[in-house]
């Protein structure tokens, strides 16, 4: 642990090292469990887990933005598109055969999205409520259409995404996976492992950020921007940073999505994608990373479940496919009307209410935690 702390020291400077260690341990345990589950799953389920991972990364970034800094973005589908195209273009150039190609592509996707995040975040920081909603919704529609305008982006039929074959992965990875799961790695499990590894890393980073001074500033801006400004917080800067971090997560998610779908085309990045991401974070509870994970799980598994349900209720296949968006829409409406804190938030308030009545000490503890 000491060694870990010294390695991560510079990174951990703005935070007390205790939460970082806690986040790392939780993430490690979660990742090991995820590996075991993925290894034991069918290839079909592996593709669902991989999908859940990239949705969770995007939702994690979005929940941080909306929940902590109070900015709504309906444009995260567009940012995922940017990430997906960036990663695809890199993989196309490099051939996408090695692990290094994959990581370079994902890093480029994150970098490009950071840039786009700043460009979008600066004007967005000046908007609020319905205005930022309308502007980011327009962004979600406008950006994917650019693929039709420029030939290099492949038009409506999109760009094919090369992904590494499992046999070409380094031997140590193949051995490692064999060690942990007793199943040989293949293309499907590779993408699922990769997704969950990056998910764990992203969530550690986001959790630390939200615990740090930066995160506290975001919350201050969200709760009362005038007081925050009086306290010396640069409102615009705080919002732009939040938007940029969130965009980087969306970019990584987009890159992973491209590899999983094996195609990057404008038809993947519809208004519906942006709205379902919103549904995921609202359902889980704005600002909650575990909530984002739950929401992403719903996104990855609900469509098949809901469609089956619809068909067994006597709907045709094409009608049954519409049950899913209805559920998402109902989720958005019901959560706002009945439980604005979402699943995790509601559970948390139940727990804290129970503990407040039972023990003064823990109530004090939770208050203290809130104020630090």
């Amino acid at each position: 642990m000491e060694r870990l702390r010294s390695i991560l020291g510079p990174l951990a400077r703005p935070i007390t090292s205790v939460p970082l260690a806690r986040h790392l341990v939780v993430a490690l345990i979660a990742f090991v469990v995820a590996m075991a589950v993925i290894g034991a799953s069918s290839q079909y389920l592996q593709t669902r887990y991989a999908e859940m991972a990239y949705f969770a990364i995007a939702a994690g970034g979005l929940t941080l933005l909306t929940g902590l800094s109070g900015q709504l973005s309906l444009g995260h589908g567009a940012l995922m598109a940017v990430g997906a195209y960036a990663a695809t273009l890199v993989l196309d150039r490099t051939g996408g055969e090695t692990l290094a190609d994959v990581f370079v592509a994902l890093l480029v996707a994150i970098a490009v999205c950071a840039l786009v995040g700043v460009v979008v975040g600066v004007p967005a920081a000046r908007l609020h409520g319905p205005y930022i909603a309308g502007a980011t919704l327009t962004l979600a529609v406008a950006v994917p259409r650019l693929a039709n305008q420029w030939h290099v982006l492949g038009g409506e039929q999109g760009l094919q995404v090369p992904v590494p074959r499992a046999a070409e992965l380094p031997a140590w990875i193949q051995d490692l996976v064999w060690f942990f799961t007793a199943v040989e790695i293949d293309q499907y499990s590779f993408l699922a492992y990769l997704g969950w590894l990056l998910l764990a890393l992203t969530f550690v980073a986001l959790a630390n950020l939200s615990r740090s001074r930066v995160g506290r500033r975001w919350r201050a801006v969200r709760d009362d921007d005038v007081s925050a400004e009086l306290a010396g917080i640069h409102l615009g800067r705080a919002r732009v940073v939040a938007f940029t971090v969130s965009a980087m997560a969306a970019g990584l998610a987009g890159g992973l999505m491209a590899m999983n779908v094996r195609l990057t085309a404008p038809g993947a990045f519809t208004i519906t994608l942006s709205l379902t991401l919103l549904a995921a974070v609202v359902l889980g509870g704005l600002g909650s990373l575990p909530g984002a994970l739950i929401g992403a799980g719903v996104l990855a598994f609900l469509p098949h479940f809901a469609t089956d349900l619809g068909e067994s209720a006597g709907l045709s296949a094409t009608q049954a496919a519409e049950v899913t968006p209805v559920v998402y829409g109902l989720v958005l409406m019901l959560v706002i009307l009945l439980a604005p804190a979402g699943i995790v938030g509601s559970l948390r308030s139940l727990v804290s209410r129970a503990s407040r009545t039972s023990s003064l000490a823990s109530a004090l503890g939770s208050t203290k935690e809130k104020t630090t």
Partner: protein, 292 residues
């Protein structure tokens, strides 16, 4: 020159429909300070109701009135049941709520009426009008569109300027507390505002569907273009909404005709951002400043 004329006329017709739609958003904004992102889906629902009637051989104008009535009822019910609880609450709540409503209406329509593309008839010809040997790029249906939107606007002006009901609606929207003290039934006025707005939206739906294919997503572009038109003119100003609609219709028509269809939403986004950052109250807002 011919192409420029055709593009301009096409832009005016499109702009008229945007204007009607922006007007509907404006009515709701004035009464409840909410941007209704479900407006397009509501108009789509009423258009489908009209289509069902048309397919059952109901005359066109009767179906048109039915769409209006359905819009009026839908708007009233939605305000009373769904929107009332979030009025005056954090503005994010209303945004998310109307987006949820958008998805629900979308999906339910698809389940009820099917997702197929279906032809939607027009009451008059959709062939270009000819003057002598040359045909000009406007159709009788296009002219009808402009006339209907003008009538709707005139009707609203009469309602708000010259009737007691209109005065009470304006009072309720302007200051609910004071109006309530003066005996205006504010809740009812807000409901009426939503109902009227949804009826105007229904008109826009009927006009854009005529002579085209419809499917549950056919109104989706209006979610953004209607919003942009309304913001362009100033969400507060009905006249501004109309002019904003026309400006947007013309701009998008030129972009589509001369540059490329795919850049239209990007240009719209550019227009929106310039307005929001340079003149946040919109081009024609009465208010001196507004927080965007």
């Amino acid at each position: 020159m011919q192409q420029f004329l055709d593009t301009t006329l096409g832009g005016l017709v499109l702009g008229a429909v945007y204007a009607a739609f922006a007007l509907a958003l404006c009515l709701i904004w004035r009464s409840t300070r909410i941007v209704n992102f479900a407006q397009a889906a509501m108009a789509m629902v009423t258009t489908y109701i009209a289509l069902s009637l048309l397919n059952a051989d109901v005359p066109y104008w009767l179906a048109f009135l039915a769409a209006l009535a359905a819009g009026f009822g839908l708007g009233a019910v939605i305000e009373r049941v769904i929107i009332r609880p979030v009025e005056g609450k954090a503005e994010l709540n209303a945004v998310i709520l109307t987006l949820g409503l958008f998805m629900v209406l979308h999906g339910l329509t698809a389940i009820t009426f099917g997702v197929q593309h279906r032809g939607f008839p027009a009451p008059v010809s959709t062939n270009a009008i000819s003057v002598g040997d040359t045909s000009i790029g406007i159709t009788p249906f296009g002219i009808l569109t402009i006339v209907v939107v003008a009538l709707v606007m005139a009707g609203l002006v009469v309602l708000f300027r010259f009737t007691d009901l209109g005065l009470r609606m304006r009072a309720a929207a302007f200051n609910g507390e004071v109006s309530r003290l003066l005996g205006v039934r504010v809740g009812r006025m807000l409901t009426l505002g939503w109902a009227l707005a949804a009826a105007v939206g229904a008109v826009a739906g009927m006009l854009i569907a005529g002579g085209d294919l419809v499917n549950p997503a056919f109104m989706d572009p209006f979610v953004i273009y209607g919003f942009i038109a309304a913001v362009l003119g100033g969400l507060d100003s009905p006249l501004g909404s109309v002019i904003g609609g026309l400006i947007l219709g013309l701009s998008l028509s030129y972009v589509t005709g001369y540059v490329g269809e795919h850049l239209a939403p990007l240009v719209a986004l550019g227009i929106l951002m310039v307005v929001l950052l340079v003149r946040p109250s919109g081009l024609f807002s009465a208010a001196a400043a507004r927080r965007v």
